[in-house]
Symmetry: D2
Subunit: 438 residues, 4 copies
């Protein structure tokens, strides 16, 4: 191992941050990681995808958020854990790096992108950290094993589970940053909780971070914030409408490519993705300006569906929606009926009649073996005992494990309202949909 670990900047650098006031960087390693091309790329990927169409303030990037997560971990490690014997300060740098880089593999409009192309940003985070990249070169200065350590923390396979739980748990630095940051940029009043207090009551234990009992109410508040942010912001039906259109654009472009459609602006940046053989090198060239460039130029393509969807996305001419329960036989029958009517009306239901579902679990205790296992939050009681949060907090107990799901059916109201052609079938469609809306 080199002497790099103790490599401190001659003078501390600070970033002015609207959420944490300042982000402090003292380690040369961190400074150099921030300067890599792969990390700077996160400036060109929005933190909240299409949310800016609903909340116009939500234009902030993942660069923003990544610095924030880093800063939270820095405060935990340097201000709270520093001198506690349960904390091994040799884990400091790996923790800071994992915090900074945890979202490195996110693509443009990640959520839709991954769904359409069956990609996983976590795989790309690993690949960028371990591949032939500037990030990897900087990390390697700490020793050959170091990039792998950082990657493992992010993958949750790292040997020291305490470090893993700092970055990924039901009360990790990632969530604490994004709840506050997304609330700040959207301007909503949800998302406030007393992070300073939570940090102060965090205690390192062998395999996890625990919370001193006296901080329980701050944690309750955080869980409620999270709940509200999910339903008020992240799952907002207008945002999901933009998401639906985005998804359909990507589907259409892939479909056309596979059909050898002749693009005026050929989707060069997408070739390897369409073909399912994307490399890290190709992947890091993608960002939201690239996507937006194609969407803009595709407005002028001859394919009516592609150009229409791109125009809708760019000009925020989104789909409307109705509540829709796919578990109801009546509703599914209606949906099948609508599908037929859309076809008759010349509106392709594959692209213009879309069911979208969101669901969330506000907090969960541990259910071993179940899909998506979640590590519970443990309180450190005055007696020294650890007690799982929902056993102590009545509020958390009340919502624990309760999955909530919301389904909507999206469609282009303007197209249906335009009665100059196919009037009769459109009126049938309207009747079916409007009965619903009343």
């Amino acid at each position: 191992m080199t002497t790099y670990p103790s490599g401190k900047l001659s003078e501390e650098k600070v970033f002015k941050d609207p959420v944490h006031r300042y982000v402090h960087v003292r380690d040369k390693l961190i400074w150099d990681l921030i300067g890599t091309a792969e990390f700077q790329r996160l400036r060109r990927i929005r933190q909240l995808g299409t949310t800016y169409m609903t909340f116009h303030g939500a234009e902030h990037s993942r660069f923003n958020h990544s610095l924030g997560v880093y800063e939270i971990i820095r405060r935990i490690v340097d201000d709270v854990f520093q001198d506690r014997e349960e904390w091994d300060n040799n884990e400091r740098l790996v923790s800071l790096c994992a915090a900074l880089l945890h979202d490195l593999g996110h693509g443009p409009f990640s959520h839709s992108f991954e769904k359409v192309f069956h990609l996983d940003h976590e795989d790309f985070t690993q690949a960028i950290i371990l591949g032939d990249t500037e990030v990897n070169a900087v990390l390697r200065r700490m020793g050959n094993r170091f990039p792998k350590d950082v990657a493992e923390v992010i993958a949750k396979t790292y040997r020291n589970k305490l470090v893993v739980s700092l970055i990924s748990s039901q009360i990790d630095a990632d969530r604490m940053d994004y709840l506050q940051r997304d609330a700040y940029f959207t301007g909503v009043s949800y998302g406030h909780f007393d992070m300073e207090r939570i940090l102060r009551v965090m205690r390192p234990r062998e395999d996890q971070v625990v919370i001193k009992h006296s901080g329980m109410h701050a944690v309750e508040d955080y869980i409620m914030s999270r709940y509200q942010m999910y339903w008020q912001i992240y799952f907002h039906p207008v945002t999901r409408s933009a998401e639906v259109i985005l998804t359909k654009i990507l589907h259409r472009a892939k479909h056309l490519y596979e059909k050898n459609y002749e693009f005026k602006q050929p989707p060069r940046h997408f070739y390897s993705i369409f073909e399912g053989k994307v490399t890290v090198e190709d992947y890091v060239k993608l960002d939201e300006s690239i996507i937006m460039f194609y969407f803009q130029t595709w407005q002028e393509e001859d394919d009516a569906i592609l150009s229409d969807l791109c125009r809708r996305f760019l000009n925020r001419n989104l789909f409307k929606y109705i509540e829709f329960n796919p578990n109801s036989q009546v509703k599914m029958k209606m949906w099948m009926e609508l599908t037929q009517l859309f076809k008759k009306a010349g509106i392709d239901p594959d692209y213009y009649l879309v069911i979208d579902s969101s669901s969330d679990l506000p907090y969960d205790f541990y259910r071993p073996g179940e899909e998506e296992e979640r590590l519970p939050i443990h309180l450190l009681m005055p007696s020294g005992e650890l007690r799982e949060l929902s056993r102590q907090s009545e509020i958390v107990e009340a919502i624990s494990g309760k999955k909530r799901t919301d389904h909507k059916l999206y469609f282009p109201q303007d197209a249906i309202d335009q009665l100059s052609s196919k009037r009769k079938v459109k009126e049938q469609i309207r009747k079916l949909l409007f009965e619903e809306m009343r």
Copy 2:
């Protein structure tokens, strides 16, 4: 005139806004303007250009700001002026539209763009409002003369000078929004002033808005905020460094185009601009994702200067700077010497050794006939007399009319520090520059 003016939405629409809490829209006209392609395009143009490279939170768009200016005017007109006899409520809609659309003609990275290509965003604002656009079509519903009225308010030639002063004066809605908004998104503590109080003490007069005497201190605070924002944020030397590189990229691309360089990614979107004959139709296709697309792809061009500058811009590998006074003979001599040395070192000084100057006048009283005339702020004294602000406020008097200018010389420190080639000449360069930095 149609009945459109009184066209109210069936239910008020609101936008959640981090600065003004909510933006309220009751008029169908406003709602429809917001939905036009030309207005939605402002989402793809950042309010503060390259500032996000210095203050990472500053990723907000002109869409954001435009809604904010509209909301301020709406509050003035609907809450403060409403029943005052000096206010003609027939001017309400033209004021709201002018507020909303005042920045419509801004291009991507406006400042640099205009400088390099000798364009003026104000001309394009006029052209979009008056041309064959969606915005024009919506405005025309109010009568054929209406687009012209709106355009004239923005051009400051409108017959009612009171309306003009709401949108453009030394204490207008534009400035009040951007100071607060830019402070919010950058996270700095400057930029706070008591806008609610200022709005409450604004009074309409025949040809201008005046401020009740009791609000003088709030106005002083606003002027100080403005001063700090200019020097702390808008003229930040790191932001200017990014601006310098951006400018040089555009210069280089134009130069190469004129030299018939064969671009791998031909700058199709720039052709008419390079040729000095851009149309409104071409212009509105430009936005920052288009620019960023080209910059990204140009990283792989064979031209070393173009690809290097693009890489620098995208990866925030900016130029360093020293203080530099172009009015000093000694300094100009040094600069000429440096120019020669840069050439010898193989670093083209046209692109890599750049003087940049910023200057600002924090407040000015009226100086008729002088370049850039500024209408002063008038206080309405208890006696009914109007008194120019700097005659009443000692603080404002102290800074009134005092222009402050800052000059810097920018250069790529990394290139100079790389001593593997041209070591000797680079050492001479370093000596000249570093003596300066000490």
Copy 3:
């Protein structure tokens, strides 16, 4: 009725308010009420009693809060209800007055005071409004019946139940002000909710205010804020410790008075209270400076208990506490044992060993006939149907009707730790208490 109702001030008056930014007064009636001696007296009564000993910022008065409640009602009535047909604007002034005066009868350290002397601040509010007071004289200018109307709104017996529900319900102006205000002054991050949104979605109905369905999440957030404020602030065990001591001082003073103890500073202001025959005239002379004056001078009384308790209260030398469940036989046995030991140790358990309980119901649906009936919050669904909140909100449903209670046993640790006398019995006490604390 006189012409007073339309009596507007020649110019609107504003109060700078940290919570609502400004409090606006346009009605001469309101201005004159604020100027009465009885209303100004509220400046000398803290909003949160002894809470300032735990949260040093909580020094704000009921004057503050009363203006805040008034301002909220003013916004509801003037900005939200104004033109809705379900709202009768003749109820405007009675609503504003009731809002302003709803806490008029609060005494110093209300909670303890009422408990010890079996008084009820609501009775005194009625008595001040209806008695021979400045407030009554101002109200009577609106007509002889007007004071009675205002009093009835506060007593919840007013004919118009919509007006009553504005001032007193599970989501009334009183609660919305105090949650935000108490959060502001204590500095805690709980207590934030989006009041502006809640006000915007309030709708008048015949007998109550209802909430538009789209505002449900803001209401959930408000209910969670309330829950956190109760347990984090209002029931804080240290505050309750100060409350316990205060109660015991009042008990002791009354006891001594009844025993004809000769006070150095005779409690002249308390005579009629001790004797259970307090008049309005006597009552309004009481405030917290009067109380504090006596406590200060009583530090020098010969009665050891009175002087000790006063010293403790003034110098914040409070009692310590342990968890204590009075429903547990084991605990009650321990308590009886402690009582005996305290006596042996010469520490009077009537004053120095005190059980204190707090309990709260975060939200309740309607349970007719039960003690302390609470009117539920109703959502106005898109269909026009009213639906009780807990039937729609999973979060509220989860906590609805769940009463939470906390019991503590308070005692003077310093006295017990002082082992110079009665060492053996004190060690027994310590053993009993400390086992508990471990």
Copy 4:
């Protein structure tokens, strides 16, 4: 010296503070000082005297502020200075104690109190620290010399001038706390500046704290905040009106005492003050509840002036005012004429016609030998040179050394408006005053 210096609490204690979020206490010494009777007394003395009558939120105590100043010094010493060689960490505790105790000698409504009785709170701060008090006993545990050291820091005579400048200079912890705190509690938007940045750029030098050049703008902002706070808050004419009445009450009570007037409530707490021989023991018994008790009971005294002034103060029935320039002969003539007319009208001008002046110097460079010498703020330039702030900052230069003064003449408008008696002379008074007001 004992081992006390290193006496750390077993667990850090925190106070929730609305301004600094948390106040952290790790030293047993500090904890014990906070618990003394003399320090707890500061809870009963408002930070801003009568300002709460103008800004109702300004009810906060000096206890609040004292903790805030302590916290600022703690951050400077522990977070910024800690490892700098110019800082001697042996000065840590004396600095913290001086910060905490710097206002210890303030009496109730300090400003008026001192003026009327020719007292000086700084003398009492010294006396309490050095006298037979709980504070002294706690300090002495650090060694016999320690109380004297603390007292000297506060008196600015301490040997280490760097420590003195932390507590008392033109940019000290005292000012930084009160500007922010008073802005917070009044709710005004002035008073914001970036303290975190200022702390980060403070550097210890041999005899003073200096500010790194890069922090100049933050300091400018602080100086502007200070300017605004003085004129908007501290010198607000309504606050001064309350101050005038308060002063006159104290004068009247002293006068009556000297005339052997028989008080119904004899001013026992004031005897030694009236007689000019107050002791520390008497002094610390005084606080604002004591004062308010007397004012309340004096409302019922037979002396018409005393009871009237007390009623005015308690019920906020204040004096009105006009601008008044005592340097103008015309004005002084008018004042003499008014004095005669007041006498004729039976309104004692000694109590009811009062000139009050306020003046402030926003910032000053060093003027040796002048009254009220002020140490200037020095910037640490990149070259290592120290440069006085006003030589570098144009804004500060502009206002430096410019004293601003405001004079007002106060009188009871209601008494003059009451024309049932002495109509003619009152009309003359009104004419003189109203001409002025127009």
